[in-house]
């Protein structure tokens, strides 16, 4: 079994604009993969290319081992959620789910079971007779996700699935995605939210139609050379900092707080042997900083 998605030198231009610029990427099976990048970096275009909605100018793209030119043969294995919610507001939740189940030829018994299960997962149980159009934005989004999952796809392509979903439910989504990945399903998600990206097993940073960094969140921080910092509140900041600097620590003072760069967490102990701070705080590097650094370098 090869990767869920493999792209080699994929090019797609709209007029003069090269939206995918010799993009190369591998997404292994059974992971949650986050496609991160600023607006207009080509995330949605890449997803639309993967499902065969775009004709590529050049490059080689395989989806679940099938060349993208024949991807329609495996549509029953793909779940695709667009940024549009792609629902019928004038149908009830139940009818929407039944309709999408019907497209995939899911039998009645299995369908009913899955509808109950999915409505529970997206926390819409008990609302199955409500019209979709009467739902709030976040609820609508959740129903859209349920419709995308109805046929238990092997490959899930979710374009900004958590927009408008409250943090607690977002957590439920991520746990569900994680569970799908452990079952061997592949979940590809686009987002521009860093905290969501942190939850994925693999993060790919996309900029101007290219992948500029790929790896687990920790790997990416290491690649970018980002280190944790220790913030120290000191009684006598000048002399304490002088002593620490004498021991070879890099410190900068910002608004009366000493910011000390750690090579590893073990150093905290030796720092505390040199000074006794009034208070302290450990700041882990942010994924965001890592990406900023990496994309500037690229």
């Amino acid at each position: 079994m090869g990767p869920a998605i493999s792209a080699r030198g994929v090019v797609k231009s709209f007029g003069q604009l090269r939206v995918l610029d010799e993009l190369t990427l591998d997404i292994p099976r059974g992971v949650t993969y986050c496609l991160l990048g600023p607006n207009g970096s080509g995330k949605t275009t890449l997803i639309r290319a993967i499902v065969g909605l775009l004709k590529l100018d050049a490059g080689d793209l395989k989806v679940l081992g099938t060349p993208v030119s024949r991807v329609q043969e495996i549509y029953s294995k793909i779940g695709y959620m667009t940024q549009h919610k792609a629902l019928y507001p004038d149908l009830t939740l139940q009818e929407n789910l039944e309709f999408f189940a019907g497209l995939y030829g899911i039998g009645k018994q299995e369908r009913e079971q899955r509808i109950v299960e999915l409505l529970k997962m997206v926390n819409l149980q008990g609302l199955s007779r409500r019209l979709a159009g009467a739902l709030s934005g976040g609820m609508y989004q959740r129903l859209s996700l349920a419709c995308t999952l109805i046929h238990e796809p092997e490959l899930l392509l979710l374009d900004e699935p958590t927009v408008g979903v409250d943090p607690r439910l977002r957590q439920t989504f991520w746990e569900y995605f994680e569970r799908l990945a452990s079952d061997g399903k592949t979940v590809l998600i686009t987002t521009h939210l860093m905290d969501e990206a942190e939850k994925c097993r693999i993060v790919g940073y996309m900029k101007a139609g290219k992948m500029t960094a790929v790896g687990s969140p920790d790997e990416i921080k290491r690649q970018a050379g980002l280190k944790p910092h220790l913030e120290l509140w000191l009684k006598d900041i000048e002399s304490d900092c002088a002593r620490l600097r004498a021991e070879g620590y890099e410190i900068e003072i910002l608004d009366g707080v000493a910011r000390l760069r750690l090579e590893s967490h073990k150093q905290i102990k030796s720092v505390l042997e040199i000074v006794s701070p009034l208070d302290m705080r450990l700041k882990e590097p942010m994924l965001e900083e890592a990406f900023l650094q990496l994309s500037e370098a690229a």
Binding site: V51, G52, L53, L54, K55, Q72, Y75, S76, I78, Y80, T82, Q83, H84, K85, A86, L87, Y88, P89, D90, L91, E95, F99, F100, G102, L103, Y104, G105, L131
Partner: protein, 352 residues
């Protein structure tokens, strides 16, 4: 590769029905639009005519009347040997009417299913007879024979066509708007990434809408036949078959044209372009003979021309399915197939 699954078509059809069922205003429109239209259009204008095919049986006695009729430019006179020939040709629809000149009497045979032409022929015969009477100093007697043997009213000719018009209008607009919505709400893109094929999408729509077409044509037929006392000489099921074929044509046309509109607002702007010509040129309010000849080719491309003709044939003349097969049903079928292909091709999956 064309893959068609009946169950998937059924899934799309069921969804269309569920959506429309919930739209009470549209359902109301289906039921009441025909009545309003009939009141609005019930009194159509008669226009200038040309190319009225008139049979003439001359058994002597009225040279002045004959030359009067021959002198009317709009009439194409066909000389016939006997009244029975004339009767046959008129009832076959090959002549719009005939005048039988006998020494004692002038009889006008009229095709009851096209009112304005009948009136024009009758008026011409009467004015000719008056002129003749004035010169001969004796009263001119003109008797009228309607070949379908009943009193002709405007609604009789207009009613069947309204049935077609209402179905065409409703289905066209609703189909176009539905497809616009499928696009704008993103469901069409979702279809494209599902096992549902383009053919199945369009056929599902045809099937779903057909149920409403049936509902609509049944209520309209009831209003036309009971409310306005238009006869139903043929089989009502034959009339429904014509309407269903017309509705299917309107649906695929709407689906096809939805590609050229970006919003529901723009769909409404198709009305003057698509619907109005059908009303004006389909030969219902103004008979085909009154439409200038250079425009008539357009009339012959409009589905309502054939649907109106077929419905009048079924309702007024009692024609059977086989009698309206050519050209009417054939033309409607060709219209459907052409736009079915066009609509399906426009639902392209890939964009360049």
């Amino acid at each position: 590769m064309i893959q068609v699954s009946l169950s998937r078509i059924g899934v799309v059809a069921l969804r269309v029905v569920r959506q429309l069922k919930r739209d009470r205003r549209t359902i109301g429109l289906i039921a009441f639009a025909p009545i309003v239209l009939m009141i609005l259009f019930g009194y159509a204008l008669s226009g200038e005519m040309s190319g009225v095919a008139l049979g003439l049986v001359d058994e002597g006695g009225h040279p002045a009347l004959r030359s009067h009729l021959e002198g009317i430019e709009d009439f194409e006179i066909l000389r016939l040997g006997s009244e029975s020939d004339a009767e046959l040709l008129v009832s076959q629809g090959r002549l719009n009417g005939a005048v039988v000149l006998q020494p004692e009497e002038v009889r006008v045979l009229l095709d009851a299913s096209s009112l304005q032409i009948s009136q024009a022929i009758l008026a011409a015969a009467q004015s000719g007879a008056q002129k003749e009477a004035a010169s001969l100093q004796r009263p001119g007697v003109v008797t009228t024979r309607y070949l379908f043997g009943y009193d002709l009213e405007m609604m009789d000719t207009v009613g069947p066509a309204i049935l077609g018009l209402v179905v065409f209008f409703f289905t066209f607009i609703n189909a176009a708007i539905s497809f616009i919505r499928e696009r704008s709400q993103g469901t069409l893109e979702k279809f494209m990434v599902s096992p549902l094929s383009r053919v199945e999408i369009v056929l599902g729509y045809v099937l779903g809408f057909s149920l409403f077409t049936l509902l609509q044509s049944t209520t309209t037929l009831l209003v036309v036949t009971f409310g306005f006392k238009v006869p139903m000489r043929g089989n009502p099921l034959t009339a429904l078959a014509v309407v269903l074929l017309l509705g299917a044509g309107a649906l695929v046309l709407g689906s096809f044209l939805s590609n050229f509109a970006r919003s529901e607002f723009q769909v409404v702007q198709f009305i003057p372009l698509i619907i109005t010509p059908q009303i004006v040129l389909c030969g219902v309010w103004w008979p085909m003979q009154s439409i200038p000849e250079f425009i008539r080719p357009i009339s012959y491309m409009l589905p309502l021309t054939y649907a109106g003709d077929a419905l009048r044939a079924v309702m007024l003349k009692g024609s059977s399915l086989t009698e309206i097969l050519f050209p009417d049903l054939l033309a409607l079928a060709v219209f459907f197939l052409v736009f079915f292909a066009a609509a399906t091709l426009m639902l392209r999956r890939q964009v360049d």
